[in-house]
């Protein structure tokens, strides 16, 4: 099998300047194609910049926007992932990543998890996506798209892999923070992400492609450090922190089969078990069933068995009692 050349465009999008960013995408796409890349990945909101606030509505585009189709047309036989603010027909704004192939938009992933804590305020400006699907691709393997925070939820890589993704692509605009010198890379954020990426690649026995932007929006600096991780968990490409550039690496898609035969974790997954337990947990959290592992002060659901009541009472005397009121 021909190796697949993956190009990661670790760029610094200009805030709110869509035409400028589009031109940059076209330039880098041409450069990547000149270097025979089969997959080119751009970062989260690469076409718009990240910290848009009320600008989000002004730079939003529909998934059928001709500018996306022009990019897709320019991609030729290369697969491209780009990210932008998507406006739906009912005028909700999403942070979206699109898989462009064969001259069109093959798949759009809407960011599922919108961080609204700490330095993040995404939920104020965007709607959260409702679906998660792996997409087939011309590369011959399924692709699973996710956007930044989506990867901080275990279910996302797990579901994408179960759905047939063999390349997990995460596009990010991750702000660097925590410069404490104890960190291996000098940056706490980078250390956390690197752990996640390796773990997901190994547990899903898939390739993981992480494209994180660089540059500065207002107060925050994005740290880059894009990576490509093999299904074994081995890092094949680690782009430098903070440097803008187009970074490429050749991967053997045959490694997916090798790893999945040797380490059949996906074969052994128990989705029906997961679903049963999830159904139970959802019902309990909704108060529709007795919560057998409830916090002591949670009102019991209908028909609480006496034994659960005693367990709760024990917890109240123990750990629960130490909790300040």
């Amino acid at each position: 099998m021909q190796p697949l050349r993956i190009a990661v465009a670790q760029i610094a999008p200009r805030l709110g300047l869509v035409e400028e960013n589009l031109a940059r995408h076209h330039d880098l796409l041409a450069e990547a194609r000149g270097r025979d890349a089969g997959l080119v990945v751009f970062p989260e909101l690469g076409l718009t910049g990240y910290l848009l606030q009320d600008l989000a509505a002004e730079v939003a585009m529909r998934a059928d926007d001709p500018r996306l189709h022009e990019l897709a047309a320019a991609a030729g036989d290369t697969t491209v992932v780009v990210s932008f603010v998507e406006e739906s027909t009912d005028h909700r704004l999403f942070i979206a990543a699109a898989l462009l192939e064969d001259g069109g938009v093959r798949h759009v992933h809407r960011k599922l998890y919108l961080p609204t804590y700490g330095l993040f305020d995404e939920r104020r400006f965007y709607a959260a996506g409702d679906t998660l699907r792996a997409s087939p691709s011309r590369m011959g393997v399924g692709v699973g798209l996710s956007v930044c925070e989506d990867f901080w939820h275990l279910s996302v890589p797990a579901l994408l892999a179960l759905d047939g993704a063999q390349i997990l692509v995460n596009v990010s605009a991750s702000p660097g923070r925590d410069l404490a010198s104890i960190h291996e890379t000098g940056l706490g954020t980078a250390v956390s992400w690197r752990q996640l990426l390796r773990t997901y690649a190994q547990l899903t026995t898939s390739f993981v492609v992480f494209c994180n932007r660089v540059g500065v929006d207002e107060t925050i600096s994005f740290w880059g450090g894009s990576e490509v991780i093999a299904p074994t968990g081995e890092a094949l490409l680690s782009a430098p922190l903070y440097d803008e550039g187009l970074f490429t690496v050749d991967v053997e898609l045959g490694d997916i089969r090798r790893e999945r035969i040797a380490l059949p974790l996906l074969r052994d997954e128990r989705p029906e078990l997961t679903m049963r337990e999830i159904d139970r947990i959802v019902a309990e959290r909704a108060g529709l069933a007795t919560d057998t592992t409830a916090e002591p002060d949670t009102p019991a659901g209908p028909g609480t068995p006496a034994v659960a009541g005693r367990a709760a009472a024990r917890r109240r005397d123990g750990l629960g009692a130490r909790r300040p009121a």
Binding site: D54, G215, L241
Partner: protein, 301 residues
């Protein structure tokens, strides 16, 4: 090394939990400075150089980011300012090779408060003005000079405040806190010292006691009543690590120190925020009209 060969004492105490990766910090700050200027349509910068460590570090960082030829350092002594401060500032200018301007603020300040010759614009009463009033006016006169030089030099005013003084409110509102952007505003004083040592700020500046230099003999630590390493450790634990009062006491901070620092932080919240606008219309700046500070069209050219 000292002349007799003994190693010099380290110029400052750096608590281990405050140590940062200086190379990464310099990288981030340089790009931050370049982007802030570019987004506003500027390629030059101006700052007030006091002879202290904060403004010296910012001068070095700015020169590193955009080149010393694009930086104007303005020295603005008052007649009671320590001569050593001016000398130290001049040494920074010499080493960096940046542009430099000397603007004595004595006339401006004395014109308001008066001097031995007679009362100033503020009248007889102001001749006995407290050191605090005088210090605040000096800081605001320096701000006025910097914003004037911002026009003549064609550069943005770079802030020199650090995180420690911002958090405890040891700053003059619209005085030294006024700036276009603040490159070291998220670094504690101890981290400022670490970075200053790494970037090559002159040893004399690293070693002297930090002072606002608003009156002779003033030092920050004497005025505040605690040392910077102690204060920085406490602030980091309280603010960045979200430790409760009980947890702080358990790791050895004195309850009265904690209480005092908590009061300082709470009492100066207003200094760190944009003044509130009375909400009347459908869209109010800072409330529900939220745009990036720099966005398409906001550059001056």
């Amino acid at each position: 090394m000292t002349p007799d060969g003994a190693p010099l004492a380290p110029p400052f105490v750096l608590p281990e939990e405050l140590r940062i990766d200086g190379a990464v910090a310099r990288r981030v700050i340089a790009e931050f400075i370049r982007r802030q200027l570019a987004q506003a349509g500027f390629d030059r910068a101006v700052l007030g150089l006091s002879g202290g460590i904060d403004s010296a570090l910012v001068a070095y960082l700015t020169a590193e980011a955009i080149g010393a030829d694009r930086l104007l350092c303005v020295l603005m002594p008052y007649r009671t300012s320590s001569p050593a401060s001016v000398e130290d500032a001049e040494e920074v200018v010499r080493r960096l090779g940046c542009a430099r301007d000397l603007v004595e603020i004595t006339g401006m300040v004395d014109a308001y408060f008066g001097d031995h010759a007679g009362p100033g614009a503020a009248g007889e009463e102001a001749r006995d003005a407290t050191a605090l009033r005088r210090g605040n006016l000096m800081a605001r006169m320096r701000m006025a000079v910097l914003y004037d030089r911002s026009v003549t030099w064609g550069g943005l005013v770079v802030g020199t405040s650090n995180k420690t003084e911002a958090l405890i409110g040891y700053t003059t509102l619209f005085g030294d806190s006024a700036c276009a952007f603040a490159p070291i505003g998220d670094l504690y004083k101890s981290q400022v010292r670490q970075l200053a040592a790494e970037i090559g700020v002159p040893d004399a500046i690293l070693r002297k006691a930090p002072s606002a230099d608003l009156w002779p003999g003033q030092t920050d630590e004497a005025e505040a009543g605690f040392t910077y390493p102690e204060l920085d450790r406490l602030l980091q634990a309280m603010i960045d690590r979200r430790r409760t009062r009980e947890e702080l006491v358990a790791v050895g901070f004195a309850p009265e120190t904690i209480a005092r620092v908590e009061r300082l932080v709470a009492a100066s919240e207003f200094k760190r925020q944009v003044p509130p606008v009375a909400k009347l219309g459908p869209r109010t700046t800072g409330v529900d009209y939220l745009y990036p500070r720099r966005r398409p069209g906001s550059a001056r050219r």
